[in-house]
């Protein structure tokens, strides 16, 4: 009787530990979302103060990564989780690395935004950057939603959006080259814009990575370096015949 109670108690505490880690990861994700939105607003509105504030705030993201990492190590050492729980911890450790990198990219964008704020804004008011920003923001958001809901299907559709990010990136790339050839005076800014879109493209890649960890966490299958169509088929067949 006592033993049963004890084991029940331990597992409940364990569940709480796992839940807390998940909430912490998502809180970190929320902060990263805010950083990304702030960096893009700073660039588009030409708000150098906001840009500096976002760049300064990156250490908070890094601090959260360290704290979650420690907690995961502690759980691995003391609870020796198995199966799904183990997958969750492993996926979490990988996820926070990618989230931290997204934070770093936001810091880069914010630095550039703070610098560009002093210049005159371009005629198109960063329309194409804004568009790319929207897509990456939606990717990060959907990725975190999929993590919260353990929704592998949403993870697959989100991962697929990375292609759109890559296409947009290519388009802006070409556009920048055209501008630079037409008017050499725009080279400096065009190069800065290239850095920004490069960062956004990296954000998309990191979000895609996290989506793959989510699929691994839910289905226990490593889908890195596999084509998304095959992954999708697999997931569909699994949910059809559980």
């Amino acid at each position: 009787m006592e033993a049963a109670d004890l084991s029940h108690h331990t597992s409940r505490r364990f569940n709480e530990d796992l839940e807390r880690v998940r909430s912490k990861v998502l809180a970190m994700g929320g902060l990263v979302e805010e950083q990304l939105a702030g960096a893009l607003t700073a660039l588009i509105e030409g708000d150098s103060k906001l840009g500096q504030a976002v760049a300064r705030n990156d250490h908070t993201v890094n601090g959260m990564e360290v704290s979650i990492d420690e907690e995961c190590s502690r759980i691995l050492a003391t609870r020796a989780p198995a199966a799904g729980d183990l997958r969750m911890i492993v996926a979490t450790i990988k996820t926070i690395t990618d989230l931290e990198r997204i934070g770093d990219e936001c810091e880069k964008i914010a630095h550039i935004a703070a610098r560009l704020a002093n210049d005159e804004r371009p005629a198109d008011r960063y329309r194409s950057v804004k568009h790319l920003g929207r897509i990456t923001q939606a990717m990060v958001r959907d990725m975190l939603d999929a993590f919260a809901r353990l929704d592998a299907e949403l993870a697959v559709t989100t991962a697929r959006n990375d292609r759109r990010v890559d296409e947009e990136y290519e388009a802006i790339h070409r556009q920048c080259i055209t501008f630079m050839m037409e008017d050499p005076r725009t080279i400096r800014r065009a190069l800065d814009i290239m850095w920004v879109v490069r960062s956004l493209e990296r954000v998309g890649d990191h979000a895609k990575n996290v989506c793959e960890y989510i699929i691994y966490m839910v289905h226990g299958k490593d889908v890195r370096h596999t084509s998304l169509e095959r992954v999708e088929q697999e997931i569909k067949s699994r949910s059809a015949h559980p």
Partner: protein, 436 residues
């Protein structure tokens, strides 16, 4: 009651009769015990048979109707059936009520999310689903902070102070602002109320922009007017009868510049609502500086006493704190008659740092005190215009203090003077860098 008693009497009588018959038959054949045993077995079998039928009926096996057995069993069955009917009725009624309730809450134009003590979602209505992007199929049982991830909301949720609401931008739509408030109820549960305040937010932003832009636009023509007036006042060729009007025009244009500067300062304070910077400020030096400025401006010089009782420095935005304290000192000087005394005191204790500006002026009657920090609020319109104030000084003080997490306390007795005290929280203090 009588009914049930009667059943039992009838049953006892039947058993007695059967036993007697069995005994009689047994005696007739010479085996009295066997006779009684047979009768008892038959009775037992009959009762068990009835019990089995009742059990099958209660199990709800298909095609089994309520058994038609008489006696005590019949009574028990009808009682059970009654009980079931009553329960069914109550269940229906509760279900109907619940459905009504859900329909009513779903119709509330605000978003409502019910949370348990772990902040896990129990239920939410359609508006909440739309505003927070929740999905009924997957999200019940998930923690709200996992789905509503804005750092500001998470801070609000963890801080546990739900008397205030929080306004956060939506993660989905940059133009959508949500006003969220937690209302605790029952045993650790809470309701999260969500309202779309994008409209108000936009209006507020437009109002702030308008004030800032209008002040900015007014400044340049005013500079031109003030410039010409200055030239005119020094022009010897001007008719002497015009000297007085020109001097008055100069005074008024200076005052107008002051009002516009204050308006701009106020709109700048409003533009960002985060906490102020944390530069260390030496309050003793600041007070001395303010005193020197005031003495240079007033004639005859006002008597300003400084009483610094703590070597702790203040952590804040120096320019803002300077303007706030200067406004308090200016006010004190304005309302203190010649020969009066103004004192500035700075002290610290467990509750934080306190700066008091006390004057021996005319004082303020109590009904005005709560409204003093409103823009352009005048205790005595004639008098304050004569002294040339902008009417914005205390509004600026209030905003500066808000940004520092501090509060303004006003104590005043009419005819004896007023004390304006700024209370700064302990985390805005730092031990003096050098206490020399």
């Amino acid at each position: 009651m009588t009914g049930s008693k009667w059943w039992w009497t009838w049953l006892a009588a039947r058993i007695a009769l059967a036993l007697a018959a069995g005994l009689l038959l047994g005696l007739l054949f010479g085996y009295p015990y066997a006779g009684v045993t047979i009768v008892l077995s038959a009775l037992l079998a009959r009762e068990l048979w009835a019990l089995r039928r009742v059990q099958r009926w209660l199990r709800g096996e298909p095609g089994v109707e309520a058994p038609e057995v008489g006696g005590v069993w019949g009574d028990v069955i009808s009682l059970i059936a009654n009980l079931q009917r009553r329960k069914q009725y109550h269940k229906q009624r509760l279900l109907r009520l619940l459905r009504e309730l859900r329909r009513a809450t779903a119709a509330i134009p605000d978003g409502v999310v019910a949370l348990n003590s772990q902040a896990e979602i129990l239920w939410f209505n359609r508006t909440a689903a739309r505003l927070l992007h929740l999905r009924a199929r997957t999200d019940v049982g998930l923690r709200i902070e996992n789905l509503v991830r804005q750092p500001e909301f998470i801070r609000y949720l963890r801080a546990g102070d739900y008397a205030q609401a929080v306004v956060v931008g939506s993660a989905l739509d940059a133009d959508l602002y949500l006003h969220m408030q937690l209302v605790p109820y029952g045993d650790g549960q809470s309701l999260l109320l969500v309202r779309d305040v994008s409209g108000q937010q936009r209006l507020e932003a437009m109002r702030k922009d308008f004030v800032a832009n209008a002040s900015h636009e007014l400044r340049s023509p005013l500079t031109v007017i003030a410039g010409y007036l200055e030239t005119l006042s020094q022009d010897a060729a001007i008719e002497p009868s015009l000297a007085q009007p020109i001097a008055e025009m100069r005074r008024q244009s200076t005052r107008m510049t002051g009002i516009i500067e204050d308006l701009l300062a106020l709109s700048k304070l409003e533009a960002s609502d985060g906490a102020a910077d944390r530069q260390p400020i030496n309050v003793a030096t600041l007070c001395a500086l303010l005193r020197r400025d005031l003495l240079a401006r007033t004639d005859p010089a006002t008597n300003v006493q400084i009483d610094v009782r703590s070597t702790d420095w203040l952590l804040g935005d120096e320019a803002m704190v300077h303007s706030a304290f200067a406004n308090l000192l200016d006010n004190a000087a304005k309302y203190t008659p010649v020969g009066g005394v103004i004192s500035m005191r700075w002290w610290t204790d467990r509750e934080g740092g306190h700066l008091a500006v006390q004057d021996s002026g005319i004082g303020i009657s109590p009904e005005h005190i709560p409204r003093l920090t409103e823009r352009f609020y005048r205790v005595d319109p004639g008098r304050s215009r004569a002294t040339g104030g902008s009417g914005l000084g205390l509004a600026i003080v209030k905003h500066v203090l808000q940004r520092h997490g501090a509060i303004l306390e006003i104590v005043s007795t009419e005819g004896r003077g007023s004390t304006f005290t700024c209370h700064f929280p302990p985390d805005r203090l730092v031990t003096g860098v050098s206490s020399a």
